[in-house]
Amino acid sequence: MNGFGLLLLRDIRLALREGGAIGIALGFYLMVVALIPIAVGPELKIMGKIAPGILWVALLLSALLSLGRIFKADFEDGTLEIIATSSLPLELSAAAKSLAHWLTTSLPLAIVTPIVGALLNLDISAIPIIVLTMLVGTLAISFFGSIVAALTLQTQCGGVLIAVMVLPLYLPTLVYGTVTVSIALTPPGSPWPSFLLLCAISLASIVIGPCASAAALRHHMQ
């Protein structure tokens, strides 16, 4: 098996055995979604209308929580330097770690969305499209997020800083994710153009993310 696959498997295994990471993200997702009806008032009609937007925002925030982990532990114990000196280009290593973050954090969040959505009176017919947009959109979340995770490795106030820096990067994904869902729910008009744009942004993030985070990681290890 090549280095990329090994690194990917290692990171997935670490995330699963650590246990906490996925649980915390899922718990936080549920928590944010549950707080909204309490704050806004439990009117089912309003809930159903704003459900896709709330789910998207909650998903972004939950995925944010674990961004810091992508490189932190490996940087602190020196593993990252061994990874950097291996034959695998640092860009691919960064891609493997971002992909591992996607598989262990963003993907589970997208998968539980139909269940969490039930709390918000989410229309059953909206579930396939919202899960589809999330499956695609979360790629951008992990890959753009890895850039900021790499940039902020040597800072004290990691979490808040990551949030401030990364949210503007998520804006196009959020816009096209929610626009696709809302067009799909109001029949005239096809949701596919905005869905394809969402795919385009995710694909761009897969290219931009690893290159930028590898550049940032190199600065840390000079």
């Binding site: 902020t152 040597q154 800072t155 106030c157 503007p168 196009p172 626009v179 931009i208 930028a212």
Partner: protein, 267 residues
């Protein structure tokens, strides 16, 4: 010794300090003069709009601020590119100095926009497409400033901020298009805007400006005045930053010196 090229000469910090010493007063004087002329034109010469009344005068502050907010980010991006590629310290000084000034102009554009929006749209803030993209631009500025101040090692902070600035420039078109929509008739592309109430750009248009010259001329004078002000402040901030770095390296050298004297005395 190899002869330095003109660019190399102009960008060396010592020569920058020398030339900026003579340029800065001239630039400041020009900026002040233009501002006075611009404000006079805006407040006393430009006609009052028959619909908007005197609130239209906010435009003379609002539009230049918005332009400079965007220009500031472009300046940061170019400087960051120069720093990452050529490792030139002056480029980093420029990027660092432009961040706060650009952020201030962006904030000014948002605030004046709100004040203008209240009588026009009946509310200080609407989630209009162009307002939103300026707000996101402000967030990008905040991210840059926060990242630089959060990393203790100044050299590392410069490099990482430069990467973030370039990522910001890469992502800005995505943000702008996703929020404001896009229309390219000759390619048959039309993307709807996310939500808009704001008037479309009315000065830079292919079929000529859509503003009457009695308003356009004061606006352009003001834009020029604020641009001069931006560069004057930027140059001053760069001078301060270079001085700060000099003082810091002198202080470190002083500590090193006393420490080596101390060890020499012990021996």
């Amino acid at each position: 010794m190899k002869k330095q090229s003109l660019i190399q000469k102009l960008t060396s910090p010592t020569i920058f300090m020398d030339t900026s010493k003579t340029i800065l007063p001239v630039l400041s004087f020009l900026a002040t003069g233009m501002l006075l002329v611009g404000m006079y034109l805006a407040l006393f010469v430009a006609p009052v709009d028959y619909q908007q009344g005197h609130t239209v005068k906010i435009m003379f502050l609002h539009v230049p601020s918005a332009w400079l907010g965007m220009m500031g980010y472009a300046l940061i991006a170019i400087s960051s590119f120069g720093y990452l590629v050529f490792r030139h310290p002056l480029a980093d000084v420029s990027a660092r100095s432009a961040a706060l000034i650009g952020a201030a102009f962006t904030l000014l554009a948002l605030i004046t926009g709100g004040l203008w929006g209240k009588p026009m749209w009946g509310t200080y803030w609407v989630w209009d497409a162009r307002l939103t993209s300026v707000l996101i631009l402000f967030f990008l500025y905040l991210g840059l400033i926060a990242l630089r101040s959060a990393i203790e090692d100044e050299c590392l902070a410069s490099k990482q901020t430069a990467i973030m600035a370039i990522i910001g420039v890469v992502i800005l078109p995505f943000i702008k298009i996703s929020v404001e929509g896009l229309s390219v008739p000759w390619l048959g592309i039309t993307l709807p805007s996310w939500n808009t109430l704001h008037q479309p750009p009315s000065v830079l248009r292919s079929d000529g400006p859509s503003i009457h010259s009695s308003i356009l001329i004061p606006l352009l004078v003001n834009a020029l005045a604020f641009t001069l002000l931006f560069f004057a402040m930027h140059m001053k901030a760069m001078r301060n930053e270079i001085k700060r770095r000099k003082i810091k390296s002198l202080a470190i050298a002083e500590i090193e010196r006393t420490r080596s004297q101390g060890t020499a005395a012990e021996e």
